[in-house]
């Protein structure tokens, strides 16, 4: 451990460069993993800095502490599991990981309250060096707004990962967290947008998802014309509107 700390400064710089960016840039509905590196975590206590050592792991400073990192996923992403990567060289010491939502607001009760996401937690407690621990299966849909406090008002919210080190011990290291998630087709409205794509239609959720994203306004007369053939030019409109392409440098 002492040998590791001699290269603290360089490790910190390298880890900042490597681990700072959240991922999640794959498309489609397949499962993907967003990695939140140790360097993204900051301490909650006064002036607290974790020790990033040459293994890229974040070690606890000399007092009890919780570290947090922001999480940004696409709205509608379904989180299925979170995993905690750690080192532990002493029996009894634990790292507790929790995904949390925080309520924003302009006043009133409950602003700033932290809401743990049910089931999105994991505990690292083994004592055999580098290891990982994962939550059980989760089904949590990510949003930037939600009614956290059940008052029927949609709150603006943020998400973060928090990792608590216990007890006071410098043999615990946080490597990072991996969030497994996949995209979903947005839930369709109760009232259909187009007369010719009713809720009973197999394509209803997909067509409604395009309409809700302003990718299509239909073919005319309040219809979508789901069975009409598509020209290459019409295809270009769909794709360009969908992706917001491509700003020249």
């Amino acid at each position: 451990m002492k040998r590791l700390r001699r290269v603290l400064v360089w490790a910190s710089l390298a880890a900042l460069a490597a681990a700072g960016r959240a991922r999640g840039q794959s498309f489609g509905l397949g499962e993907q993993g967003t990695v939140v590196g140790a360097a993204a975590f900051v301490g909650q206590n006064l002036g607290l800095q974790g020790n990033l050592l040459s293994d890229g792991y974040l070690y606890q400073p000399n007092f009890l502490s919780t570290f947090s990192a922001p999480v940004a996923l696409p709205v509608g992403a379904s989180i299925t599991q979170i995993c905690l990567y750690f080192t532990n060289f002493k029996p009894g010491a634990t790292l507790q990981l929790q995904l949390e939502a925080v309520k924003f607001g302009a006043g009133g009760s409950g602003v700033g309250a932290v809401y743990p996401v049910a089931g999105a937690s994991a505990t690292a407690s083994s004592a055999n060096g580098y290891d990982f621990a994962c939550s059980g299966p989760i089904s949590y849909t990510f949003h930037d707004v939600a009614d956290l406090d059940g008052d029927q008002i949609q709150d603006r919210i943020a998400h973060r990962l928090s990792v608590a080190f216990t007890p006071l011990d410098d043999t615990l290291g946080l490597g990072g967290v991996r969030i497994l998630w996949h995209r979903q087709i947005s839930p369709p409205p109760a009232t259909p947008t187009f007369g010719d794509v009713p809720p009973s239609d197999a394509f209803f959720p997909h067509v409604e998802a395009l309409a809700a994203s302003f990718i299509t306004g239909g073919c005319s007369g309040g219809n979508y014309c789901p069975n009409a053939p598509l020209t290459r030019a019409q295809m270009a409109v769909f794709l360009a509107k969908a992706l917001g392409l491509h700003w020249p440098q």
Partner: protein, 247 residues
């Protein structure tokens, strides 16, 4: 006002941890949430309390304390409004704080970076929680733009900033920026002769060509009125999305 910072401090900031923009598509507005834990101190490390808010680490600093977070949005994104969520822990004097969205020019010639304000506000904060919002910003985000109007396109980045006045205990919960995508503007010269600048589809077809999603149908044309097979549709979608790298 803000204190000047060294080039090294700026580089550390540029590399610091922050979430990417949320990746919803289409032209509807969406929120980019920048949590307080993404902010770094220019002169003092942040302090996080149990409400998850970031607080001023050194109220005695006469310069105040400034905290920054990078703002990452796609090229061409249109910023509609921005909200800073704050909390004042102690009743008392109000004002003197600053929240701001900035665009900053990278200077390649050893000059200090230059900043320009997209929006700023000086909140007065009674005891309790506060949301500072500015709407109708109408700001187009680009990775390169002529920030200083010298006729040269600059490499730029974007930041959210909170400066807490001396003596105050002010908390920052985070920032939410409402934005939407745009279809990129078309070039002066048409890529395909059969989709000229006067075509209704010109801007959209040019956007696909500029992104490498289509090279046309052959002979330099795009064949806009030809119908599309399911196979061709698969090529368009797979190219557009860069699908799907198996782990």
């Amino acid at each position: 006002m803000r204190v000047s910072r060294s080039w090294i401090a700026w580089m550390a900031l540029a590399l610091s941890a922050a979430p990417l923009a949320a990746q919803s598509y289409g032209g509807t507005t969406q929120l980019l949430t920048i949590d307080a834990t993404a902010f770094h101190g220019e002169s003092h490390p942040p302090v996080f309390h149990s409400d998850g808010y970031l607080y001023n680490a050194d109220p005695d600093d006469a310069n105040g304390s400034t905290y920054d977070a990078p703002v990452r949005l796609p090229d061409g994104a249109h910023i509609e409004d921005a909200c800073f969520f704050l909390r004042n822990e102690e009743p008392g004097p109000t004002g003197g704080h600053t929240v701001a969205l900035m665009v900053e020019k990278f200077s390649p010639q050893g000059l200090p970076p230059q900043e320009h304000v997209i929006m700023s506000a000086s909140p007065t904060t009674p005891f309790g929680y506060l949301g500072i919002c500015r709407d109708k910003l109408g700001y187009p985000v680009h990775d390169e733009m002529d920030v200083d109007f010298d006729g040269v396109s600059d490499h730029v980045s974007y930041r959210a900033i909170v400066t807490i006045r001396e003596g105050a205990t002010l908390g920052l919960g985070g920032v939410q920026i409402r934005w939407r995508r745009n279809v990129s503007s078309a070039p002066a010269q048409a890529t395909f002769p059969d989709v000229p600048a006067g075509s209704l589809f010109f801007q959209y077809v040019e956007a696909l060509a500029a992104s490498g999603i289509t090279g046309g149908c052959g002979g330099g044309n795009y064949c806009p009125d030809a119908s599309l097979t399911r196979g061709q549709m698969a090529v368009f979608l797979a190219k557009a999305l860069g699908l799907h790298w198996v782990e």
